[in-house]
């Protein structure tokens, strides 16, 4: 098992929640949005995106429903739930704390 799997996993969840927070999106859209928002730095491993989506839905942070995509195809859209919003806020805070701490450590000479 990858030693940092948990951290990475948690991060992906956070990115997903953030990506969906503006509007409901389908899976492919989420992967594109993350890539876009990170200015192409973060490329989501698409193989782990869907298990992550599934996991997040199972935890009740996202709601999934079938709808029609921009090019008129049936697609599964994910929408942030109230619990998801709370989770996003909390995770964001945690992440800021964490990254701030790491940054502080790295900044020390």
């Amino acid at each position: 098992m990858h030693p940092n799997a948990d951290v990475l996993q948690g991060t992906l969840d956070l990115l997903i929640l953030k990506a969906v927070s503006l509007e409901p999106m389908h899976g492919w859209g989420i992967s594109q949005r993350i890539q876009q928002m990170s200015s192409g730095v973060l490329e989501v491993n698409q193989g782990s995106l869907y298990p992550a989506l599934h996991r997040v839905v199972k935890r009740g942070w996202l709601e999934a429903s079938w709808g029609t995509s921009e090019n008129n195809r049936r697609a599964r859209f994910y929408r942030l739930t109230t619990a998801g919003k709370r989770q996003l806020a909390q995770e964001t805070a945690t992440w800021r704390l964490f990254s701030g701490a790491v940054e502080a450590i790295l900044a020390t000479n």
Binding site: G27, W28, Q46, G47, S48, Y50, P51, H54, A75
Partner: protein
């Protein structure tokens, strides 16, 4: 319980709103979008598609993972668990063999008994709405007669006046001779009224049957064949309909063949061969009881209501006809009548088999507990590696399911063998030969296997996976507190199975002794070397005089020929229930007011007592030269009818008008002529001349030095010399008849004893197992004791005491249990009380001793413990 939640979630996931195909849809959508984007970026469609797949990182892996999340892997799990279980089973061959054998015997015993129950009790009658069919009888409460034949006049009046039945039909067994060429063969047939098949709702396999209102049938000499007879005699020739066959003196036309499942009320299947229209003499008398009556309850009419209606009608008839004053009528469901003698034994045997299964399950559960204790480490390790509890429990359940299914398969084989024994030991006609393993029986066996899996598997599985893994890993599963808890559980289990085994053992002991006593009964005559054969003197050739002449002829031709020493005849075979029961009056004795004497009477020819080896204690035998019919009574009759007087010279009158009566010329010893287990009744033996008119079918008895076949052949030869068209049938040695009369008690006893034996063996294995286990648990303690000065004998005693204590508690409960259970077998007992103290004491002490013997091995092992090794622990 968390694993229940998990299970529920899995089930929801599986049945959930999203069909599995949609997952594929979502992935496909993603791939399409990606491919389009790549195309826009300048790739060819093919390349774009390939790149999209690559980026996604393996579609299969992804769907597989989701699949697993939704419980889709159950099949794979099962396959994997099964392979694992087989590997485990192979790794412990002795354990596997013991479990399979235990379950095999237990399930086999239950399956065998169930297939009998299935055929006898559960299978519906082979007629439409067969549970509305009833049998009607004459009854007489004053004479404690519950089921008696019905007179034709009664039948007609019942049919006309009762309202509870759609219709009722009458039938009577007949004896016909079937002639093919030179050979004559005796058939038992059934004379039926024309509405008989309508009442039953029976259809022919082909041809036709009689129907109500076929006025012509009685004179047309038509006959319907039973399926078995048609197969045997005519090789299933389907062109038989319309052909003439010769029955007795007349030629009859075959009009139909009945289906194979047509079986008649109260008759062994296959015994009846042909059905003829009843040519019932239009007897006016209500007192001539000669018919059986079957009826169909009107829809919506309950049995009790039909009985009430019938009783009212019968009471009116009896009132109008003084000769049948006091007679009434009874109605019973055919279904109940068929199983009257079998219900109790089958229930008891099924219960006994059930106990064996219970004991077997307890044992297997015990073994699994032991093994799962050994496997605690393995389970803990797998838990630590992330296996969920559901996963572990399901794996352990697969293991026990596999054992149970193996046991069930073995059980089916054992059941088949057991059934073969049952059918061989059962007296002819008791059980239909069609008993076998059918789909329903198979289902029953599998159901037992499933039940067993849950009973023996779930508990150990839950108990072992409940362990807290950290402690288990640390302790190595050896001296954990779980061990103490399971030891307590296991002890109670062993006590339970010991008590159950004792219940069975006591019942078996009582029944065995009963059988022994039955077989030890002195029949009062010498059955060895006596052969009985039936003959029917019917047809124009025979009348009262020629019938008597026939037997006189036969005796003079046969005695001294071919090793035959003595020949005579009687209207009933020795050891057969039934026979004539005639109202009698004692001439010259004051009749007690209102008392009607009934005298069990047998018609005999001279030499009967000599042939059967019954000693005359006074007077003489009847003789051909008597001139008028004389009587011989047995000692009981002499004592009962003329207490304190000499019976010889007294007169007994049969019927109301006779004022002189027949003279008693001899007194013979009591004999159990009507069954070994029924007391010798006060018998009257009447010279055949007096009964020739009513007894046309007689049993020839011949005492010969050769084997049965030789005696029969010689007798046949002599009969042929007198009348070539007269067949002999039902030839049997009297010892055989006695054997058969013991058939059902013997069968019951064999099965019950077998079950008891299995139960005891299992209980002893159980005691051995739990004592060994406790020795293993207490090794350290034993080491300490020995280090502190306990000697080997002390340790031996310590362990033996444990085994004895378990057995003793079990036995104490068992004795109480037996007291509750034995009323069920009251009717099986003969010459012994159900509370027979010696039986209870011997079985109880025996069981405790056996338990001690079983504890001896582990006790010896304990006493050989090296204190140093033991105290160091593990």
């Amino acid at each position: 319980m968390s694993f229940l939640n998990e299970l529920a979630r899995r089930v929801r996931g599986r049945l959930g709103r999203e069909p599995a195909a949609n997952l594929g849809d979502e992935v496909r959508f993603h791939l399409d979008m990606e491919a389009q984007a790549l195309e826009r970026a300048g790739l060819t469609p093919d390349a774009a598609r390939a790149e999209a797949h690559r980026k996604f990182g393996g579609v299969d892996r992804y769907t597989e993972e989701l699949h697993d999340e939704r419980g889709g892997r159950v099949v794979e799990w099962l396959a994997k668990d099964t392979r694992y279980a087989i590997r485990i089973a192979r790794r412990f061959p002795a354990f596997t063999a013991i479990v399979l054998l235990t379950l095999g015997i237990a399930i086999g015993a239950n399956t065998a008994i169930f297939s009998v129950v299935d055929t006898v009790l559960l299978r519906p009658l082979p007629f439409p709405e067969g549970d509305r069919l009833v049998l009607l009888y004459a009854q007489n409460p004053d004479k404690s007669i519950i089921r008696f034949s019905v007179s034709y006049a009664d039948y007609l009046d019942w049919r006309k006046q009762t309202k509870g039945f759609t219709d009722i039909a009458a039938f009577a067994s007949t004896s016909l001779s079937f002639v093919t060429g030179d050979d004559a063969q005796r058939l038992s047939g059934m004379a039926v009224t024309s509405n008989f098949f309508d009442v039953l709702g029976a259809r022919p396999q082909f041809g036709r049957v009689f129907h109500d209102g076929d006025a012509a049938t009685e004179t047309d000499n038509e006959v319907i064949l039973a399926n078995g007879f048609w197969q045997r005699q005519f090789g299933s020739d389907s062109t038989i309909v319309g052909r003439p066959i010769k029955i007795g003196a007349s030629v009859r036309t075959v009009i139909g063949v009945l289906p194979p499942d047509f079986s008649l009320v109260g008759n062994p299947i296959d015994a009846i061969t042909v059905f003829t229209p009843a040519s019932i003499p239009n007897v006016e008398s209500h007192a001539q009881h000669m018919l059986s009556v079957v009826g169909r309850l009107r829809p919506g009419v309950a049995l009790a209501a039909a009985q009430q209606d019938l009783s009212a009608v019968a009471a009116r008839i009896a009132e109008a006809n003084p000769p049948i004053a006091g007679w009434n009528a009874n109605v019973f469901l055919v279904r109940d009548e068929l199983v009257r003698g079998l219900k109790n034994p089958l229930f008891v045997l099924l219960a006994a088999a059930g106990l064996v299964l219970l004991i077997g399950c307890i044992n297997v559960a015990n073994l699994l507990l032991t093994r799962s204790a050994l496997r605690e480490r393995e389970v803990a390790l797998r838990q630590a590696l992330g296996a969920s509890r559901v996963r572990l429990v399901s794996q352990l359940l697969v293991e026990s399911a596999l054992l149970a299914i193996g046991g069930a398969l073995l059980g089916l084989i054992i059941a088949k063998l057991t059934l073969r024994v049952i059918l061989r030991v059962a007296p002819t006609g008791l059980l239909p030969g069609t008993i076998g393993l059918n789909a329903r029986v198979l289902g029953f066996a599998l159901g037992l296997a499933a039940l067993t899996t849950i009973v023996v598997g779930l508990w150990p599985a839950l108990s072992v996976t409940r362990l807290r893994l950290a402690r288990s890993l640390r302790d190595g599963g050896r001296s954990s507190s779980g061990g103490v808890r399971t030891l307590r559980t296991r002890r109670s289990l062993v006590v339970a199975e010991t008590s159950l085994a004792l219940v069975l053992l006591i019942c078996a002991g009582l029944v065995l002794q009963s059988l022994q006593r039955m077989l030890g009964v002195d029949p009062g005559f010498q059955p060895d070397h006596v052969v009985a054969m039936r003959v029917s003197l019917s047809g124009p050739r025979y009348n009262d005089t020629t019938q008597v002449q026939f037997f006189r002829d036969l005796q003079s031709r046969l005695e001294g020929r071919g090793g035959i020493d003595a020949v005579a005849a009687a209207n009933t075979a020795p050891i057969s229930a039934g026979g004539i029961n005639a109202p009698i009056r004692l001439i010259g004795m004051p009749a007690r007011a209102g008392e009607k004497l009934m005298g069990p009477t047998t018609a005999i020819t001279p030499g009967y007592f000599r042939t059967l080896g019954m000693r005359l204690v006074g007077g003489r035998d009847i003789a051909w030269s008597d001139g008028r019919p004389m009587l011989v009574v047995n000692e009981s009759a002499a004592r009962r009818y003329w207490p304190g007087q000499n019976a010889i010279g007294k007169h007994i009158a049969f019927g109301d008008r006779d004022t002189i009566g027949l003279e008693v010329v001899g007194v013979v010893v009591d004999a159990h002529v009507r069954g070994l287990t029924t007391d010798a009744p006060a018998m009257i033996y009447m010279a055949y001349e007096g009964a020739a008119r009513i007894a046309r079918t007689m049993t020839i008895v011949a005492r010969g030095r050769g084997d049965v076949g030789a005696v029969v052949a010689t007798t046949k030869q002599a009969v042929r010399e007198i009348d070539p068209a007269l067949p002999l049938y039902n030839a049997q040695s009297v010892t055989q008849i006695i054997e058969q009369s013991m058939g059902q008690p013997r069968l019951n006893t064999i099965l019950l004893s077998f079950f008891a034996l299995v139960a005891v063996v299992l209980a002893v294995i159980g005691i051995y197992g739990v004592v060994s286990y406790s020795v293993t648990q207490r090794t350290q303690e034993i080491g300490v004791r020995m280090a502190l000065g306990a000697r080997q004998n002390d340790v031996l005693r310590l362990v033996l005491r444990e085994g004895a204590a378990l057995a003793a508690i079990g036995v104490a409960i068992g004795v109480v249990g037996a007291f509750v259970a034995t009323p069920l077998i009251r009717s099986w007992l003969f010459g012994i009380e159900r509370t027979d103290a010696p039986t209870i004491i011997v079985t109880a002490v025996g069981l405790v001793m056996t338990a001690l013997a079983a504890s001896y091995l582990p006790a010896r092992r304990a006493s050989k413990v090296d204190p140093l090794v033991a105290m160091r622990g593990d």
